[in-house]
């Protein structure tokens, strides 16, 4: 029996497949303009690998979860991330998930979500903010991370992406080192996460999920800011889809 978890976020769709208790497959693709199209492509790709949707249990999560017509159930990304993280880490922790649209802090107790906090509706402190700022600097998110490690602290005071962008542009104009601007951009996210985390209340172990966990310099700077080593994992960006697949077993 296959258990499939599909996590359609605002920028990327993540898919995880269990064959009974074994995690056999993880892949990701851009969400593109239509979640419905994306879910079709996912189905085709799975079927090429001889994973039949009809004979499987499917749980969809993420903001595009309602656009997966063949899902047996939809569950929110909070519950799925919690479940997936517990699988990856094997222990309770505080999960930080920096998503494209929103940042979430999730507390796990006995492997289950006991409490969570989400940022409000603006893009401050989210992956989207980082992406837009990287574009303004003309670099990729990975490059931005590398640059940030070499820079000095500068202040980007605006939380709003539009104003932060003009701040970045004027910093470029005034000849501030690009590395320091990159550092300022990362600081603005880690600072936001710091506040969100402490208002929420953090446990000792902190685990980062979402696309940014693959940007090592970001993990380093976040650990510095939180004064706590932020754990992550090669599969951490799949925490949501892995959790969804695991929850599919309960259907």
């Amino acid at each position: 029996m296959h258990y499939i978890g599909i996590d359609i976020g605002s920028t990327a769709a993540k898919v995880s497949v269990f064959s009974d208790d074994k995690l056999i497959e993880n892949f990701t693709m851009p969400t593109g303009w239509s979640s419905v199209e994306t879910s079709k492509t996912i189905k085709e790709r799975l079927e090429k690998q001889n994973i039949k949707i009809e004979d499987s249990k499917v749980v969809a999560t993420g903001y595009g979860r309602i656009s997966v017509p063949y899902a047996d159930k939809t569950i929110t990304e909070i519950t799925c991330h919690g479940r997936g993280t517990h699988y990856l880490l094997g222990a309770d922790c505080t999960v930080i998930d920096i998503g494209g649209q929103d940042t979430k802090i999730i507390t796990l107790e006995n492997g289950k979500v006991s409490n969570f906090t989400m940022n409000d509706k603006c893009a401050a402190g989210t992956g989207r903010f980082l992406e837009l700022m990287a574009n303004t600097l003309g670099v990729s998110i990975d490059e931005l991370g590398e640059m940030a490690l070499l820079g000095e602290d500068v202040n980007i005071t605006s939380m709003c992406t539009v104003f932060a962008e003009s701040e970045v542009i004027s910093l470029i104009g005034s000849g501030t080192k690009r590395e320091s601007i990159a550092r300022g951009i990362v600081n603005s996210i880690t600072g936001r996460v710091y506040a969100l985390l402490h208002k929420h209340g953090a446990t000792d172990t902190i685990f980062l999920t979402g696309g940014l966990c693959e940007v090592k310099p970001f993990v380093t700077l976040l650990s510095e800011k939180l004064q706590n080593e932020v754990k992550t994992n090669d599969l951490a960006r799949y925490a949501g889809s892995i959790g969804a697949a695991l929850l599919a077993k309960n259907i």
Binding site: K73, T74, T76, I78, T79, N115, F116
Partner: protein, 387 residues
């Protein structure tokens, strides 16, 4: 399936807007009020009609923003918007406005609104924990009474006050009995219907008829309970909703909760139970009795506001709830800051799941609110994962 009488209740808004016009034309005076601290008894004793004018819809906000800052609580903007656009018949027919110095936003907005119609402002003390506060609030009651007597050319005798107190206590009692029906498991009324019934009472031109309608609703609900007809089944998680006031048009969080399968059994907010909890003492001197009752309102404008925690704790037990949702309107500093205290209390003292949801009247964040609400319900043991 909802009780049949709910349709009559729902029709009240329209019915009452016609009635208020008729009453106004017949020479009756109307006092428009904005807050649970407003002593409607004094207006009734002056033989006037008292109505609630608090804005609960997005509609007039755009107009309000021509004069008010955008980052202001939607309730204040909506109230002001209704005042300047003539879109609310109740505002239109109000002869006098009664305002209180509650939160900063309302206070300053009233300065602008007071230019539109005659307005009386009652100076609310910042705390209820102090003897001096009660003295001050008593004096404010008297000032309001004098103001009405002069404006409306009437005499407000103690006897009239006592009658008004009795009438309002009866209304409170009926509303309270209605609210308490939902302490039953499962709840016989949806939170949406409960909110509507309580919110609409604020527009009742004829109080007696309003009380009668609620009593008939109670009868019908009790009959249904005997037959085993409920709004939700046993499995639906039971939620206590607290925080900022809500009404028709600003019910989106309540709605999202019930659409996701929860049963909102207790509404602690102003538009729900908050104002019903304490009755006015019918045996005391009326002004003292009124001052004591209204000062006891556990609103976040008061400091300290421990009464709110006490009330939440009591309702959580009585209604046997599975979780507490604290609604904050964007830019409402008092409720927003207080949420931190409420969260600690609910999680640590009551050992219940808690979530704060901050939003406004618009539907720009419907998706996000839905995720928060559904995820919150998923953390509550019972299996209500939306499909």
């Amino acid at each position: 399936m909802r009780p049949l009488i709910m349709e009559e209740v729902e029709a009240l808004r329209g019915v009452n807007s016609v009635k208020i016009k008729e009453a106004h034309e017949a020479g009756k005076k109307v006092v428009g009020m904005y807050c649970v601290f407003s002593p409607s008894e004094i207006a009734l004793a002056a033989d006037a009609i008292s109505v609630t004018l608090c804005g609960t819809t997005q509609g007039p906000i755009e107009d309000a923003e021509k004069e008010l800052p955008r980052n202001l609580c939607p309730l204040i903007k909506s109230s002001y918007g209704f005042a300047i656009t003539d879109k609310c018949p109740y505002f239109y027919f109000s002869d006098i406005l009664l305002a209180e110095t509650t939160c900063d936003g309302k206070k300053k907005m009233y300065e602008l609104m007071g230019k539109i119609k005659p307005m009386h402002i009652m100076n609310l003390p910042q705390t209820a924990d102090d003897e001096d506060s009660l003295e001050l609030w008593k004096k404010e009651m008297v000032k309001f009474k004098n103001f009405l007597e002069e404006k409306l050319g009437v005499e407000i005798t103690d006897d009239k006050l006592r009658d008004a107190i009795k009438l309002m206590n009866r209304e409170r009692d009926a509303m309270k009995r209605l609210h308490k029906l939902n302490a039953h498991k499962p709840a016989p009324l949806s939170g949406m219907d409960m909110m509507l019934a309580q919110w609409l009472k604020g527009f009742n031109v004829d109080k007696e008829a309003g009380i009668n309608l609620i009593e008939r609703l109670i009868d019908e609900v009790e009959e249904r309970m005997e037959k085993g007809i409920y709004a939700f089944d046993e499995k639906a998680p039971r939620i206590l909703l607290t925080g900022c006031p809500i009404g028709s048009g600003s019910e989106k969080v309540l709605k999202a909760l019930e659409e996701a399968g929860a049963s909102v059994v207790a509404l602690e907010n102003c538009t729900g139970y908050k104002g019903l909890d304490v009755m006015v003492d019918e045996n005391k001197d009326p002004i003292t009795a009124l001052a004591e009752k209204y000062l006891s309102t556990p609103c976040s404008c008061m400091t300290n506001n421990n009464g709110r925690l006490e009330l939440i704790g009591r309702l959580a037990k009585e209604y046997d709830v599975d979780g507490v949702v604290d609604l904050t309107w964007q830019a409402c500093h008092t409720y927003n800051i207080e949420s931190f205290t409420v969260k600690k209390f609910v999680q640590e003292e009551l050992n219940l799941p808690f979530i704060q949801i901050e939003t406004d009247y618009s539907d720009s964040d419907t998706g996000q609110v839905k995720v928060r609400v559904e995820a919150f319900l998923e953390t509550i043991e019972k299996p209500v994962m939306a499909n």
